[in-house]
């Protein structure tokens, strides 16, 4: 066997580390630059020679961004939308998951298949009809319009069905013998051990709907119902503002800053939830 000498190999592996470090630095550049330019004075033009925070860093861009766009309102809307969707989903998926995990009934497989179809058909491909539905229900440009298509979740239902199936049937029977009705059984026997799965579902649902863009873009038309993503797009697309990068980057920081801070704090949980969910 002809192995390279030890010093050679450690040299090679530190070369890998340097390459990896440079790549990681490159990966971080976009956000570092955005942060730097967001405090760049609007009176100083950006140029190849004056790329970062400039000679007089300022928070003026942030106050101007808040003046032009109602980011506080957008935040409230986004929070209401994500939590509203989640609250309804938690109820619907627990009920449906329980039915599919612990009951035998006629048409069970057909109903399960119909629900699972939602996982195969992307909701974004159904905007033609869902937009028409929202208009005919007279809820266009409301928070409800942004939320309602997601109240039923095939993924969540599937997840709860699998989780509830792990609960020993004897526990269920014992609770019934003690006179518990179905919702007491669900609440006391099934929900507690399902908490990790519910948390994972919650985090992935929140991050999906927090970031969603196309659907809210279509069904909202005013600051009172717009989420952050659409609000940022509106700010970026304002013709005369488009080129004012310090302002636009400040808007971007307003949108992503709290997310990044939350992520830094709850890194582990976020990554676990991504691992559990995959799709949405």
């Amino acid at each position: 066997m002809n192995k390279p000498p030890r010093s050679w190999r450690s040299w090679l592996s530190s070369l890998w580390l340097v390459a990896l470090g440079l790549l990681a630095l490159g990966w971080t550049m976009p956000i570092l630059w955005t942060l730097a330019v967001s405090i760049h004075s609007p009176d100083e033009p950006l140029s190849a020679a004056n790329l970062w925070w400039g000679s007089a860093p300022t928070l003026a861009n942030f106050s101007q961004a808040f003046d032009i766009a109602p980011f506080a309102q957008y935040y409230v809307n986004t929070i209401l939308i994500t939590l509203g969707i989640l609250a309804v989903q938690l109820v619907t998926i627990c009920l449906a998951g329980y039915a599919l995990a612990r009951f035998q009934f006629r048409g069970q497989n057909v109903l399960f298949f119909l629900i699972m179809l939602q996982m195969l058909v992307p909701s974004s491909a159904l905007i033609v009809s869902n937009y028409a539905t929202i208009v005919s229900l007279h809820v266009f440009d409301t928070l409800l319009a942004v939320m309602v298509p997601f109240f039923g979740s095939a993924f969540g239902t599937f997840l709860m069905r699998q989780t509830f199936k792990q609960v020993p049937r004897e526990l269920d029977d014992a609770a019934r013998m003690d006179g518990a009705n179905w919702w007491q059984t669900l609440w006391h026997i099934y929900i507690p051990p399902a908490r990790p799965a519910l948390t994972a579902f919650a985090l992935s649902s929140i991050s999906f709907h927090w970031n969603d863009f196309l659907w809210p873009l279509i069904v909202t038309n005013s600051p009172s119902s717009r989420p952050l993503t659409v609000g940022l797009a509106v700010l970026t697309q304002l013709g005369e503002i488009g080129a004012q990068w310090p302002l636009v980057t400040a808007g971007t920081v307003i949108v992503v800053g709290p997310l990044l801070v939350l992520f830094l704090v709850f890194q582990r949980q976020f990554i676990d939830s991504f691992l559990h969910s995959g799709l949405k």
Binding site: W16, L17, L20, G21, A24, W27, M29, P30, I31, W33, T34, L46, S47, A48, L51, L95, A96, A99, L100, F103, F105, L111, L114, I115, L117, Q118, L120, V121, P122, S123, A125, L126, I127, V128, S129, P149, F151, G152, T157, N211, F213, L214, I218, L228, T229, L232, A233, T236, T249, G251, T252, V255, V256, L259, L260, L264, Q267, F270, G278, L279
Partner: protein, 301 residues
């Protein structure tokens, strides 16, 4: 036999028969109204002409599909989408695997390096696209400034038809790779340690170990990552809306953006329905192939 006066047997049985249906009702209701019915409606609607010229829907058979088939603009859309999928999926999954292999080893600042690659996955695509719009600015955009050190002159990435789609792909790569890397890292950590120990004792080189042990053992993770990467890539739309509007000259127009503009800019409901059906069909065919491939491989495992 004592009878329960509170719940007569007949009523008890009836309610327990109805119970599972009642539990499923909310989910079935929302999925019927916002998935099943819309699905039927786009398929049906794609057979009708309904646009600004034809206000009341008129049955037209496959006319919308025929119009799309001969439309060179739609051919661009299909080509762009397929090119985007075929290029970005292997690149981002491959890079994610390499990063996971490197970041699975012990070294200082490992957590920081993982963070550097993963954070883009946390950002909304709209914000990431805004940041990259800025990165690509001609003149002082960070990408041009960086490339000027290597003697590459100022480029208008998003304004040049041959460069705009690659520019969107670079954003996709930056945004998604860290997300896929996490799955590979989890896959790597679940692998049995003793096999690798014996491979090392047998004198297998690092590359041999990866080729003959790690990659085959990670096949399941790879399939999973590839599947979500393909679905994500087919649904590319936010960055097109923010960065290029499908241009220049249709160079970055993709299926979902084309669906959006057909419906809201050209107000052609019939054609938009046909595009929806095509998008859904592509994804269903992909899922079916994926399913059969997995089933076949599962039988001799």
């Amino acid at each position: 036999m004592p009878t329960d006066s509170l719940t007569p047997p007949g009523r008890a049985r009836l309610s327990s028969v109805a119970l599972p249906y009642l539990l499923l009702l909310p989910t079935l209701f929302f999925i019927t109204v916002f998935t099943l019915w819309p699905l039927a409606r786009v398929v049906y609607g794609s057979l009708f002409l309904q646009n600004q010229a034809v206000q009341t829907p008129r049955f037209a058979g496959l006319a919308n599909y025929q119009a799309l088939a001969i439309d060179p603009g739609f051919r661009d859309v299909l080509t762009n989408t397929l090119v985007y999928v075929v290029v970005t999926v292997p690149l981002s999954a491959g890079l994610a695997l390499i990063l996971a292999l490197l970041l699975n080893r012990e070294f200082r600042a490992r957590g920081l390096a993982r963070l550097a690659f993963f954070y883009p996955a946390m950002l909304p695509m709209v914000s990431a696209a805004t940041i990259f719009l800025f990165m690509y600015t001609p003149g002082y955009g960070l990408l041009n400034v960086f490339l000027s050190f290597f003697g590459i002159t100022n480029q208008n990435w998003l304004g040049t038809p041959s460069q705009a789609l690659p520019a969107l792909m670079l954003l996709g790569l930056w945004k998604q790779t860290g997300f896929y890397m996490i799955f590979f890292l989890a896959g790597l950590q679940a692998l049995p340690h003793d096999i690798f120990e014996s491979a090392r004792l047998d004198g297998a080189s690092a590359l041999q170990t990866i080729r003959y042990l790690t990659l085959p053992l990670l096949a399941g993770t790879t399939l999973f990552v590839t599947t979500i990467a393909v679905v994500n890539a087919f649904e590319t739309v936010d960055q097109v809306y923010i960065m290029t509007g499908g241009g220049p000259v249709n160079a970055t127009n993709m299926l979902l953006f084309n669906l959006y503009e057909t419906l809201f800019n050209y107000l052609d409901v019939g054609k938009a329905s046909a595009i929806s059906v095509i998008l859904i069909a592509i994804l269903l065919i992909f899922t079916a192939l994926n399913f059969f491939y997995t089933e076949r491989n599962a039988t001799y495992e």
